[in-house]
Symmetry: C2
Subunit: 125 residues, 2 copies
């Protein structure tokens, strides 16, 4: 049974997670199938706001260890599964912007517009 006091969004100790635990958190699709995991996320140095989650598929789709940046708001946290849900099909994800695991692109406005645009989200910066 849920305790409405402790389970409220604002009061739950579980509202927050350590940054180094987000790294490694599983990503699922709506059907509950594990797609991959969050490798790290890109955060604004000053505001502390995450703009992208960078995920890998762990070779699931035969794609090796490429890293796929997703607009942060594409992810929904699911407390029951203890991971993030991305409501996108495999083809959409695997066709998205990606880079080699040992590289990091310049996360500038041009790249932001490319990534956000691919997922149909206005790039707000």
């Amino acid at each position: 049974m849920q305790d409405s006091t402790t389970m409220s969004r604002t009061d739950s100790p579980n509202r927050l997670i350590a940054s180094n635990r987000v790294e490694g958190t599983a990503v699922y699709n709506r059907a509950g199938e594990k797609l991959g995991r969050v490798e790290y996320f890109m955060v604004d140095k000053q505001s502390g706001k995450a703009d992208y989650a960078v995920m890998s598929f762990g070779g699931l789709f035969g794609l090796g260890e490429d890293h796929y940046p997703l607009p942060w708001d594409v992810l929904d946290y699911d407390a029951d599964q203890g991971g993030y849900i991305v409501d996108l099909d495999k083809e959409k994800l695997t066709g998205g912007p990606r880079y080699r695991a040992n590289e990091t692109p310049e996360y500038d406005r041009t790249y932001g517009q490319q990534v956000y645009g691919y997922y149909g989200i206005a790039y707000p910066w």
Copy 2:
């Protein structure tokens, strides 16, 4: 010489940092003295917003490796130093809420009010 195009806040590739690079970023005081480093930060799972930076002093003050949660907004990013600046004196910091490095408190509202209150910042959640 700064290039106003690339150095603007919104367009700079350096506006963003990978989460696993925040971990380890140096923290300085206003005088430019290194106080310690960010060990990790506490982030809202859904919104992706950092609420706390958790820093250590690296034994600088003879305090071992305790972890000190700070309201995120206490930190200012300084691009020249490549680290965060905290405009608080040593006594204020070392007298603040802390816990052992191998522990994690429940980051609930009570704890939030304690930490934010200590640093004179309204706890907004």
